[in-house]
């Protein structure tokens, strides 16, 4: 078979952080090609480059042997490359038919939009997927599965030669998955090249013929699926030693600081219990979107669980917390939350380092109380954390990712919290700053604090934490001491949802 897409030596970096380095990727027509790798391995970045959403820092893309330059998703679509991303890209205020044809609407003789043709062709394209919903329905009224099928229909209608499906089954139920798989096979048999990004091993073995594995932004290898089994595939995805950037673990831990009792995250989910002791770093591991972040956010009222209790330093707080005041209440009680997305949810990028750190100090203090001693606290934090900035008045947006992350920690530490709940402590942070941040967290627990951390990087969790809970499907699938954990074991527990033995 001839190659339809060849990506050669693709590299992409976001600032100082390299997301992809020198990756080769080839696609053949009629093949269903699985793209695998741990969270953050660079799968989505590679696919966004192929779709024209991102431009590579270096490397080239060949379409049927000819160089292809993509500067927008439109270029990708015109070249026959169609993507169904996890995040939705449909316009909810328009109808199904309008979304199908937006940008290339059929016209009537008088220059108006030919709605009858649009409706008919939309029905046709949906019928090819064995779907039957009204082209005049507003997309806002559609369910997630229907939207996903609509995006696929959009790709089919654009005569896609390459169809990228980024975790298409994440939000679908079993019946919808069957419909989807049938359609994927049909598309492939018609000569479409399909890239299938998924974490579900059984789907890969059932559906795909080739698999490419990425790790830390680099290519591990491309193999026929028939030569692989579950063990060899996991080995390909893991295969790396623990590095020695982590500080030593605690020798002994103290009394329980934070406890979660019978928390039910969603209707129908199992109740979950966990404890974090003083002096301990406890991690939540698992595949993306299994509920780790919901647990962390439920602790500060940013996620509304069905029921449960929190025990914080011997004090019992019923769940759910009020959405409006939960965060402030827990802050006042000594629990700090460091959100995952520091730019969107954490820092005020236009304000200074000092203002960002000082913000944390005023939980539990009357709003009109005088703010004294702030300058000294800010200076102490900047020194202790080795924040590299032009001064306390430097704009946070001008700092590097690692220093921004330290400012975010500085805010929580300045507030003198006892328990920290941290999402993704080192996202978009370079290696040196990572080691510093790990050290800071250990210092915090050595002084009697407790940390609950979650991260997409299994290695980070193993190296940093004392104990790890693996989350699957909004419940705890297993608990493992970090000294016994390996990436392989965590992945196994996370993939099988606790059906395998809990080592």
């Amino acid at each position: 078979m001839s190659t339809i897409i060849e990506m050669r030596g693709i590299s992409k970096s976001f600032g100082p952080v390299a997301a992809l380095s020198n990756v080769d990727f080839r696609l053949e027509p009629g093949s269903i090609h699985a793209l695998m790798g741990e969270n953050g391995a660079g799968k989505s970045t590679l696919m966004k480059i192929l779709a024209g959403v991102l431009r590579p820092t270096s490397g080239e893309i060949l379409l049927a042997g000819k160089p292809l330059s993509l500067s927008s998703p439109r270029d990708g679509l015109d070249a026959g490359i169609s993507v169904v991303f996890q995040e939705q890209s449909l316009l909810a205020n328009l109808t199904v038919a309008e979304n199908m044809f937006l940008g290339r609407e059929p016209r009537t003789r008088w220059g108006g939009i030919d709605y009858p043709t649009m409706r008919a062709k939309t029905r046709e394209a949906l019928a090819q997927l064995d779907l039957d919903f009204d082209p005049d329905r507003q997309v806002a009224e559609l369910g997630i599965a229907e939207r996903q099928f609509l995006e696929i229909a959009h790709g089919i209608h654009a005569n896609a030669r390459v169809m990228i499906l980024d975790e298409p089954t994440a939000a679908l139920n079993a019946a919808d998955v069957d419909v989807l798989n049938r359609n994927i096979r049909r598309l492939a048999s018609e000569g479409c090249a399909i890239v299938y990004v998924s974490h579900r091993l059984e789907e890969i073995f059932e559906l795909c013929d080739t698999v490419t594995v990425l790790k830390d932004g680099a290519l591990v290898g491309t193999r026929p699926v028939s030569e692989m089994n579950t063990a060899s595939l996991i080995a390909m995805m893991v295969g790396r030693e623990l590095s020695d950037m982590f500080p030593p673990r605690a020798d002994e831990t103290g009394a329980p600081m934070l406890g979660i009792e019978d928390m039910v995250l969603q209707p129908g989910a199992a109740a979950l219990n966990l404890t974090v002791n003083a002096g301990e770093i406890v991690a939540l591991a698992g595949l993306e979107g299994q509920g780790q972040s919901a647990i962390a956010r439920a602790l500060v009222g940013l996620h509304v669980p069905v029921s449960g209790h929190i025990h914080l330093k011997g004090q019992t707080v019923p769940l759910p917390l009020p959405r409006e005041s939960g965060l402030l209440k827990m802050h006042a009680a000594g629990l700090g939350f460091v959100p995952e997305d520091r730019k969107e949810e954490g820092l005020l990028l236009n304000l200074s380092v000092a203002q960002n750190i000082a913000l944390g100090r005023f939980a539990g203090v009357p709003a009109v109380a005088p703010a004294s001693g702030t300058r000294a606290v800010v200076q102490r934090m900047m020194d202790a954390m080795n924040i590299k900035a032009a001064g306390p008045r430097a704009r946070v947006g001008s700092l590097s990712g690692g220093n921004q992350q330290k400012v975010l920690f500085g805010r929580a530490l300045a507030a003198e919290m006892d328990v920290l709940v941290i999402e993704e402590p080192t996202r978009g942070v370079d290696v040196g700053a990572k080691a510093e941040i790990y050290g800071l967290l250990r210092d915090f627990t050595a002084a009697g604090g407790a940390v609950l951390v979650l991260s997409r990087e299994a290695l980070e969790l193993i190296g940093l934490a004392d104990r790890i809970y693996v989350i699957h499907d909004n419940a705890i699938a297993g608990e493992i001491a970090a000294t016994e954990a390996t990436e392989h074991k965590l992945l196994d527990m996370a993939l099988s949802g606790g059906k395998a033995e809990n080592a």
Binding site: S72, P73, R74, L77, S89, L90, L91, A92, N93, L94, E98, L102, G103, R104, E105, R107, G111, G112, I113, Q138, A140
Partner: protein, 301 residues
């Protein structure tokens, strides 16, 4: 549907409660009163659908009456005022898209500029407007007063452009993307975003100029203050009609109902001898009440 019910309610109440309301003379007068606002509101809606606002509408209306009242032949001033209005709209659009100025600031600045120029041309009201403009507004055809034809024409144009053209669909697509935070969604579909947004501002200015022509025909002169508050009243009419200021949701019939509702309100309260100050209070209260009771995120009313 709420504004429509209010309109029907007011019409019923006025027809029963007052002798003057249902007379043909008053009805035709009501239509003529409503017309400039209707025209300006249709233009305003183009901009609001793409999540913008046009505050220069009022000044453009005054400006076009001033141009028409210049001491020059109508065959020169008439096309010239539309060309100038298009230029004003294009400048607004370019400021918003290319220079990244917030729509309120961009069009507020333009409001001042155009107001100043208008006062330079015609410091106080006066002059005369071409005969054909007066005839097209005050005359009648086949026994039907001209404003009826104006209404049919502007509604037909507005309908065609907003709801039956590619341009209209693209307006809604861009606005829908902005309203839901996917600012590049429409562009990713291949919609020429910048060009469409600029065209929306041009359309708004052209409709404002047309509203100015109608007003000039009614007052038979140029007036630097005649367009005052039209920018806010047109936004009120559009909002009353169910168009979301966050973009992407709205309908022409809604805007038409909103504009008629405002005209009806002042006509009716004048007939009922309500003080103009109270009228303003009622207008504000009505706007708040109607918009709070509207269901969000639905197309149209």
């Amino acid at each position: 549907m709420l504004p429509l019910l209010v309109v029907i309610g007011i019409v019923t109440w006025l027809s029963i409660g007052t002798d003057e309301f249902a007379r043909p003379g008053n009805l035709s007068n009501l239509l003529a009163q409503a017309m400039p606002l209707l025209i300006a509101s249709i233009g305003q809606m183009f901009v609001i659908v793409v999540a913008g606002l046009d505050l220069s509408v009022g000044s453009v209306i005054s400006f076009s009456t001033a141009i028409l009242a210049l001491d020059a032949p109508g065959y020169l001033t008439f096309p010239a005022l539309f060309m100038l209005a298009a230029l004003i709209g294009a400048t607004n659009g370019i400021a918003v898209t290319r220079l990244n100025v917030h729509p309120i600031i961009a069009t507020l600045a333009m409001q001042y500029v155009v107001l100043g120029v208008t006062r330079l041309i015609r410091p106080v009201s006066g002059g005369t407007v071409p005969e054909f403009v007066i005839a097209s507004v005050q005359g009648s055809f086949l026994g039907v007063p001209m404003p009826v034809f104006w209404a049919i024409t502007v509604l037909a144009i507005g309908w065609k452009v907003l709801h039956a053209s590619r341009f209209g669909l693209h307006l809604f697509a861009i606005g829908g993307g902005m309203a839901s935070g996917q600012t590049s969604a429409a562009r990713n579909f291949g919609v020429p975003e910048t060009r469409i947004i600029i065209s929306a501002y041009v359309a708004s200015s052209l409709f404002a100029a047309l509203a100015g022509v109608f007003l000039a025909g009614r007052i038979v002169s140029g007036d630097p203050n005649v367009g005052m508050l039209f920018e806010l009243n047109s936004i009120t009419a559009v909002a009353l009609g169910g168009t979301q200021l966050s973009g992407g949701v709205g309908s022409l019939q809604g805007t038409a109902i909103g504009a008629f509702l405002l005209a009806l309100l002042s006509n009716g309260m004048n007939l009922a001898n309500v003080s103009p100050f109270i009228q303003t209070v009622v207008k504000g209260g009505l706007l708040l009440a109607v918009v709070s009771f509207q269901r969000r995120r639905k197309m149209g009313l």
